[in-house]
Amino acid sequence: MTSDLPGGAVSHRPLRFFWMLDVSGSMAGEKIGSLNHAIRESLDPMKASARENPHAAVEIRAMTFGSGFRWMTPKPITLEDFSWTDVPVSGITDMGSALKAMAAELSVGNMPERGLPPVIVLVSDGQPTDDFDSGLRALLNEPWGKRAVRIAIAIGDDADLEVLRKFIAHPEIEPLTAKNPEDLVRFIRYASTTVLKSASAPASRPVGTQVIGTPPPPPPPAPTLANQDDVW
């Protein structure tokens, strides 16, 4: 059976999903282990969630930052082909330079012409050690950066929530604070399924309305801690 459709190639709309992961020295030990575990375990649910809206072609790209930043792959990878490689820790928290690199990645020339607004999930356990404000400015000055769905996950009580709120820049979205490994798994899964699903079917809207749509609320806190010794 052949189609008589005029013209050539048709495509779903690309949706880029970015992990932006703090791997500074303070993440050493259980935190980085839990983060690697949480992302790896979220991949299958993420793929299942993406399949619910086949009109968005999800592409993943992950960045780590410590002393400087590093893209884990040279270019975005389709979700179906994406696999997780554990990341090690190193150095300080150069969040500002990481944001500038993200801004460059989201420049109009680097993004797909007819893409959906991207998703950026920032995970951090500390405070920026470089110029955070100029990095954030660079990101929000990019049309795609400004329109990105920005989610932040704080690991433990030492994370700078005010910095994460500035990154989100949305009055109705709060940073998610993971106080233990179970929280981290739930929040990573929330970002990679619920937020992804919401971002893959954005509604058209008049200019000047709230730039970023509000994703459904995050999961409620776990009723009891599995292990009181696991509190970060």
Binding site: L5, G7, R114, P117, R147, S204, R205, V207, P216
Partner: protein
């Protein structure tokens, strides 16, 4: 023979050889079919004066939950654009002689600037006739989604305020239901001193938010108006080119809209003269669901070029669009899609010399689309197609499947003979929710 025809016959460029034909179609997006949302697009494509003129119009109602009546808003936008064309045509006949390009441009600008108030007029009339009510949530799923969204935002003060505003607006509507249309007037802006924004809120226009793209072509000129995203193309020497670039503010899923408080400022209106060297062979307007189904501009234009080639060689593109658009939505953006096409020369269109009829706005009977489980024909990939099911028609409403002819002595546009017609009297019977429907022949989508 009417004035324009006589004017054409006096020797305008290649006029006798240029007869326009048209086709248009709207389809409910694949994602909308899955979610149960209605088609929020509308469109039309029609010829005037035995093909000497043609106009193509599309409107794309916003999908945001706050725009819970955008399907009606899109239909009203198309109705308002038709009224602009009708009024332009009527005024042109008053000019006499051979109008200069400046005369044409000035006249188009004057008439096109009436678009925003005309649309707000239709919205106001609809709101007064059918105010959103909590009691009607089952009949208006869009309103339910809007209220769920407000509740989901967790702002109890805003939630309570919204419910109060709906209540007070229903009272406002009740006091105006019996007003004559000319006394009702356009929906006031929230900043208007006559509008009690504290009590009534400012959600009304946004509920109907939509884009609008329209192009009118005649023997010596092409005229357009645009507010919002989508594509407007003309075809010269067999190649598609943008008539006008999309607005800079249209980025990702944001777009200028007829519901904006400053919509009159955002509305782009223009006229180009047609020279012998660049006479267009076709014009096409489309909502953004179509271009968003292609990886690049070049691939999108390839589709459009191919479509025009098929139309001009005589293929039945009106029928083809009923199959191609659902397939494109399924394999592409998932969004609603509308294409309105006009071309010069041969081929079968769906609107040949169709008169633009005046019609009442109220009690419109929308056509709704239902999935049909049936074996697909051999020439397209599998998957359910859709058919139109006419909802119950209000008593006395005309049957769209048998459009009437112009009465003797009536203009080809069929506009009212009085100098000032009410916008509410020129609203569409069929443009709104006409997804999967060939409006001219009344033919349901091919199954």
């Amino acid at each position: 023979m009417n004035l324009i025809r006589r004017w054409v016959d006096r020797g305008q460029p290649d006029a006798d050889a240029r007869s326009w034909r048209t086709a248009h179609h709207s389809t409910t997006g694949a994602a909308h079919l899955r979610s149960g949302a209605p088609c929020q697009d509308a469109g039309t494509a029609e010829v005037l004066d035995e093909g000497a003129w043609a106009f193509v119009v599309v409107a794309d109602g916003h999908g945001s939950d706050h725009c819970f009546r955008s399907d009606r808003g899109a239909a009203f936008a198309v109705a308002a654009a038709r009224q602009v064309v009708a009024s332009f045509h009527r005024e042109l006949r008053q000019v006499g002689g051979t109008p200069t390009i400046k005369t044409l441009a000035d006249l188009w600008d004057t008439e096109a600037r009436r678009l925003v108030p005309s649309w707000r007029y239709l919205v106001h009339a609809d709101l007064v006739d059918n105010p959103p009510r909590l009691a009607d949530l089952d009949r208006e799923p869009g309103l339910r989604r809007f209220l769920d969204k407000v509740v989901g935002e967790g702002r109890h003060d805003r939630n309570y305020q919204t419910y109060l505003q709906l209540h007070w607006f229903a009272e406002y509507a009740g006091k105006r239901r019996d007003l004559a249309p000319e006394r009702l007037g356009p929906l006031p802006l929230p900043s208007d001193p006559t509008w009690d924004v504290a009590t009534l809120g400012g959600w009304q226009a946004r509920a109907y938010g939509t884009t609008l793209l329209a192009v009118l072509v005649g023997p010596t000129s092409v005229h357009w108006l645009r507010i919002g995203d989508g594509a407007m193309l003309r075809f010269v020497d067999g190649r598609a080119q943008r008539l006008v670039e999309p607005p800079a503010e249209a980025f990702a899923n944001e777009t200028p809209s007829l519901c904006d408080d400053d919509a009159d400022r955002r509305l782009v209106v223009d006229t180009d003269p047609l020279a012998e060297s660049d006479l267009p062979s076709a014009l096409l307007v489309t909502t953004d669901g179509l271009p968003n189904s292609y990886p690049s501009e070049a691939e999108f234009l390839h589709f459009c070029d191919d479509l025009v080639v098929r139309a001009r060689r005589g293929d039945d593109v009106a029928e083809g669009l009923t199959r191609w658009l659902p397939e494109l939505s399924r394999r592409g953006s998932g969004d609603d899609m509308t294409v309105a096409l006009a071309w010069v020369g041969g081929g079968r269109g769906d609107h040949v010399a169709e008169p633009v009829r005046a019609a009442p706005v109220r009690s419109e009977a929308p056509a709704v689309e239902q999935p049909v489980v049936e074996e697909p024909p051999d020439d397209r990939p599998g998957g359910a197609m859709h058919e139109v099911v006419e909802e119950e028609r209000a008593p006395g409403e005309p049957d769209e499947s048998t459009p009437g002819e112009s009465a003797p002595g009536e203009s080809a546009l069929g506009e009212p003979t009085s100098e000032e017609s009410s916008p509410a009297e020129s609203a569409p019977e069929s443009e709104g929710n006409e997804c999967e429907r060939d409006a001219d022949s009344g033919r349901a989508a091919q199954q």
